[in-house]
Symmetry: C2
DNA sequence: TCCTATGCCTAGACAATCAATGTATATCTC
DNA sequence: GAGATATACATTGATTGTCTAGGCATAGGA
């Protein structure tokens, strides 16, 4: 289990979009969600996650709104825009082709 | 088909080690080999490939020797060291775990 | 009171990509 | 012999993204 440093770099944005689409709509929840969905395999550092969210918002893939939380500080909730949804689909596809090819070259079982 | 920019970043070193292990023992051949093995999906730019080879050599994962070519300029042939072989195995494993998790989260078929 | 969990954010150090360019030889075509 | 193309290695400067480390802030439990 671990810290897949550079591997995460290319997939982080897709994973974040996906997590939001799955209902983890704010930063802290996205990090928890990815950690849980991956059984601890993916650890999202704040220094990458928050800049990524800002990037995605600036690119028009996400829209944000602040909302109070029952505990702790207010949360910044994100949702996919139409463009974001399109990008997620495209990135899913790109990842699919990429991982298939790498799996084949590295001789890794895709079980 | 295309240019998997950031995705390649985390897998390039593994792919290079693998290509060398498969017999593409010098830079130009490695690039051609990966392009062919991936049916054009992976395009290795020289500005990433050569620095990567130097990195791997400096880390003791590769050993290099110059050799004349029947055509064009001399070639710098690489081969895996023992350490390089160990790293390749470890990186293959890391990639396997990572891609499995991402595939699952993105809902991508691993066919 | 202090620690932990929740929650957002950023600055500076660092690392790696890419486009572009340079160098060099051999071969093929016009 | 002029020019294009394939082979072959290498570097530079701009850009971009990660990570460590810290800051700010509220709430609950020990």
């Amino acid at each position: 289990m671990g810290n897949h440093g550079d591997l995460l770099r290319g997939a982080l944005e897709s994973l974040v979009l996906e997590a939001i689409d799955k209902g983890a709509t704010y930063g802290y929840a996205i990090a928890r969600s990815l950690e849980e969905l991956s059984q601890g395999e993916l650890v999202t550092k704040e220094g990458s996650l928050y800049p990524a969210l800002h990037r995605l918002e600036k690119q028009g893939l996400l829209k944000a709104r602040w909302q109070d939380s029952p505990q702790g500080r207010p949360r910044k909730h994100y949702q996919l825009t139409g463009l974001g949804r399109k990008h997620l689909a495209a990135q899913r596809d790109a990842w699919s082709r990429f991982s298939r090819v790498v799996n084949r070259i590295l001789g890794v079982d895709h079980a």
